[in-house]
């Protein structure tokens, strides 16, 4: 039982990172990004290219992956979504769908479709926490990464001037522009942060399973569940959402077998949509008239 709970917690950390990527883009850039799964996979494949295929030193692998996903975020905004400014949300969603297909094709052409095992930075990946309760080193790293990302995001949006400007642009991009805020750079930063969180989640997941586009892509799509639980715009709402999905998936697989993995998250999504479409933790604004 305790082992299952630890497993659920580790999985929740990954879902939290994926949900964060969904929510950040929705909140900052106003985009429901259906390419999140493909971008998760792309981040992991880029990491694998540097780490396994080219065998680069680990600091270069980390910095190289970070620089590449940030650059991809900037390119995504400038080449696609900047040109769609002012278009209805439907057009943006369709664009993300097209982007997902393009990334899938690119990945397939570049890296093929077979699952890969990534080069590991350390030996001895299993860590015994208690008697009979163990997890992987990557599971622990995923937990730490999720904690760091959420703490950093909280501090960034609450206390930094750039974070405050991102919140301002998210609320009203026209007023932000009239107020001298560089809205395009805010959007680029939104893509960069979201893709970085997505890449970390994709890499952690690939280390705990194998690296396949399909597997990581599916994880990314299921990651909309914690985002939905949080109301799609609440970053803090992602955490309980991720815990719910992590527990549902872990215990679902235990009770009903591997096929429950894909089903659990979507069942939670349906239940949330039916009971409270705005999400369990959707933020309410109090306004004086």
């Amino acid at each position: 039982m305790l082992s299952l709970l630890v497993g659920a917690l580790v999985l929740s950390a990954i879902y939290a990172l994926v949900g964060f990527a969904w929510v950040l883009l929705r909140r900052t850039n106003g985009i429901l990004n259906l390419a999140t799964g493909a971008q998760l996979a792309l981040g992991a494949f880029i990491f694998n290219q540097y780490a396994t295929s080219w065998g680069l030193p680990w600091p270069v692998v980390v910095l190289g992956t970070l620089a590449t996903v940030v650059a991809l975020g900037a390119v995504t905004h400038w080449l696609i979504f900047r040109k769609l400014a002012g278009q209805p949300e439907f057009a943006l969603v369709v664009a993300t769908l097209g982007l997902a297909s393009a990334l899938k094709g690119l990945s397939s052409l570049t890296w093929g479709t077979e699952a890969r095992v990534m080069r590991e930075p350390v030996e001895g990946r299993v860590v015994e926490l208690l008697d009979g309760v163990s997890t992987t080193l990557y599971g622990i790293f995923g937990l730490v990464a999720a904690l760091v990302v959420f703490a950093a995001a909280h501090a960034f949006f609450r206390y930094s001037t750039t974070g405050i400007r991102m919140r301002a642009a998210a609320e009203n991009s026209v007023l932000a522009s009239q107020g001298g805020i560089a809205v395009d750079w805010v959007y680029v930063l939104g893509w960069a942060i979201a893709l970085t969180a997505a890449a970390i989640a994709g890499i952690m997941y690939a280390y705990q399973t194998t690296l396949s586009f399909h597997g990581v892509d599916a994880l990314g799509l299921r990651g909309i569940a914690p985002a939905l639980v949080g109301g799609l715009t609440s970053i803090k709402g992602v955490i309980p959402g991720a815990l719910i999905i992590g527990l549902a998936e872990t215990f679902g697989v235990k009770l009903f077998g591997g096929s429950a993995q894909d089903v659990a998250a979507w069942v939670v999504i349906l239940v949330v949509l039916l009971i409270r479409p705005q999400g369990l933790f959707g933020e309410k604004q109090v306004e004086r008239v």
Binding site: A85, G86, A168, S177, Q178, G179, I181, V183, Q285, R288
Partner: protein, 246 residues
């Protein structure tokens, strides 16, 4: 007389399918002058300010023809952020503040220029102009009264060190007391800082105390222009355009 700070020549602004909101408008605003644009709803006043201050990429409006010069530099059709860099700052008609941000965060969101010391100094100066701000720093701006939101919007604009401050319908939706507070503040700004203002307003009584020049806008063009006192006292204006009793 020196070259005007703002020169608008033959400005035409249109939206989406081509409907013209501003048609061949000429306008000069000199340094330290308060220029008032009056007119009924739909006359094109807001579109004039937007044509000068620029449209964001997500908006459908655009400058179809004409020129906008600031200090002699051609800035026609530039986006709002670039116009801020040229010293042209607009306080829009609606949504003047970021409602989910606190009052303090609204001020911090303004990209102020200069070193840390001068930014601090300017912030203190602006806060001293609008004392309510200090007491409400941690309150979400959406919870401010309409008049306070208006003043916060103006305060944020002042942090951008505008050469030309454009205020769209400062009195819209405000109580008479709030309107007086807002215009008293604008009056103080003009008196203390020699601020150049271009204001769009329907509340003639409120605007009359501070305006130097006035233009009456009808169907996208200026129907009448001149010194504010003459324009606002004109029987024709009072009866035809402003619906006031003569």
């Amino acid at each position: 007389m020196n070259e005007p700070l703002l020169q608008v020549r033959g400005l035409t602004v249109s939206y989406g399918g081509g409907s013209v909101a501003v048609d061949q408008v000429d306008l000069d605003v000199h340094d330290g002058e308060v220029c008032l644009v009056l007119g009924a709803n739909g006359a094109g006043k807001t579109s004039l300010l937007r044509g000068i201050g620029g449209f964001a990429a997500s908006e459908r409006g655009r400058v179809r023809s004409g020129k906008v010069l600031i200090g002699g530099a051609d800035v026609t059709g530039r986006p709002p952020r670039t116009m801020v860099g040229h010293g042209v700052v607009l306080v829009p008609e609606e949504n003047k503040v970021f409602r989910t941000l606190t009052v303090g965060e609204n001020l911090r969101a303004a990209p102020m220029t200069g070193d840390r010391g001068s930014r601090r100094e300017l912030l203190d100066e602006v806060v001293s102009l609008f004392p309510f701000i200090r007491e409400r720093m941690d309150l979400p701006a959406g919870q401010l009264s309409g008049g306070e939101r208006q003043l916060l919007g103006i305060a944020r604009a002042l942090l951008l060190k505008p050469r030309l401050l454009m205020v769209d319908e400062a009195s819209l939706g405000l109580s008479p007391i709030a309107v007086r507070k807002v215009f008293d503040s604008l009056h103080s700004l003009v008196a203390a800082k020699g601020m150049t203002l271009l204001i769009v307003e329907q509340n003639v009584r409120a605007a009359r105390a501070i305006a130097d020049r006035a233009h009456v806008m009808v169907s996208g063009t200026f129907a009448l222009s001149g010194p504010a006192r003459e324009v606002l006292e004109s029987e024709q204006v009072r009866r035809t355009y402003l619906g006031l009793e003569v």
